[in-house]
Amino acid sequence: MAGWLALGANRGWTKTTVTRQKDPVTDIDGPVVEKKFVPGIDLLAVCLTGALALFVVSLFVSRTKNKPVTSSS
């Protein structure tokens, strides 16, 4: 969730390239395609579902119980 927010909170599909319309150095308008990973809501959903599944599984896994300490005296 933090990663998705940090990388732009893209509400579309995950992208591996982005298209800019303006070259920042020359100010020329043109189709510039750059390789950039932008996580989308699909990846966010997968990560949240995975986290939820792990949480549910953790509820059913038997916890290590402390054996009662018996005093021999």
Partner: protein
């Protein structure tokens, strides 16, 4: 020994006094940004397209921008229209015949009305424009922006950039492209907007 020293001193002085050769800017853009937008606005149809297959070399001296020379080449096959059928027609032998005439060229001959303000020079550039196998001398208003040491910000190499912008019209009939025909769909006037950047690495 004394003679050698004098010779070395003489060459150094001559080198310093000689005017610096203009840097040659290469317009083959690795980023693929350079483009020409072409428009025809006919009564029945308005067509917009772009061309990105641009190359060429332009020697340019920021201290003497009026002496600009060089040649810009556009690959005719890189002319792109959003509609695939229109694009096919444009490339065919009925229109541009890109197989027979693969290049659209502009070769600079001279510049007049040269005005420079800071790093921006405007001029009326006269040169030979070649399209569809016909070459004509035309004059085009051009803006040249010299970006000293800006190549590093773009490609990581030391050097300068030269951005050229030009907007002008040609008549397709002048270049033997179906003169007087189908002007209700493809106007005789073709508007061209050129935006290109050239690099001169050091």
């Amino acid at each position: 020994m004394k003679n050698k020293f004098l010779c070395a001193l003489l060459f150094t002085c001559l080198g310093a006094a000689a005017p610096a050769a203009p840097a040659e800017f290469d317009f083959k853009d690795p980023k693929g940004v350079n483009n020409v937008v072409f428009k025809t606005d006919a009564p029945l149809e308005s067509i917009n397209g772009t061309a990105t297959g641009i190359s060429g070399r332009v020697p340019f001296d920021p201290d003497n921008p009026g002496a600009v020379k060089g040649k810009i080449i556009v690959q005719a096959s890189s002319l792109h229209l959003g509609n695939p059928m229109q694009k096919e027609h444009l490339h065919s032998d009925k229109w541009l015949d890109v197989a027979k005439y693969p290049e659209i060229t502009f070769e600079v001959e001279s510049a007049k009305n040269v005005k420079t303000q800071a790093n921006v020079t405007t001029a009326d550039v006269t040169g030979k424009f070649g399209l569809h196998g016909v070459t004509k001398t035309i004059t085009v208003p051009v803006q040249m922006t010299f970006l000293k040491d800006k190549l590093k910000a773009r490609t990581g190499k030391d050097g300068d950039l030269l951005v050229i912008r030009a907007s002008f019209k040609i008549k397709r009939g002048d270049f033997g492209i179906n003169p007087g025909q189908m002007e209700e769909k493809v106007s005789d006037d073709i508007e061209l907007n050129l935006s290109i950047a050239g690099a001169a690495p050091r």
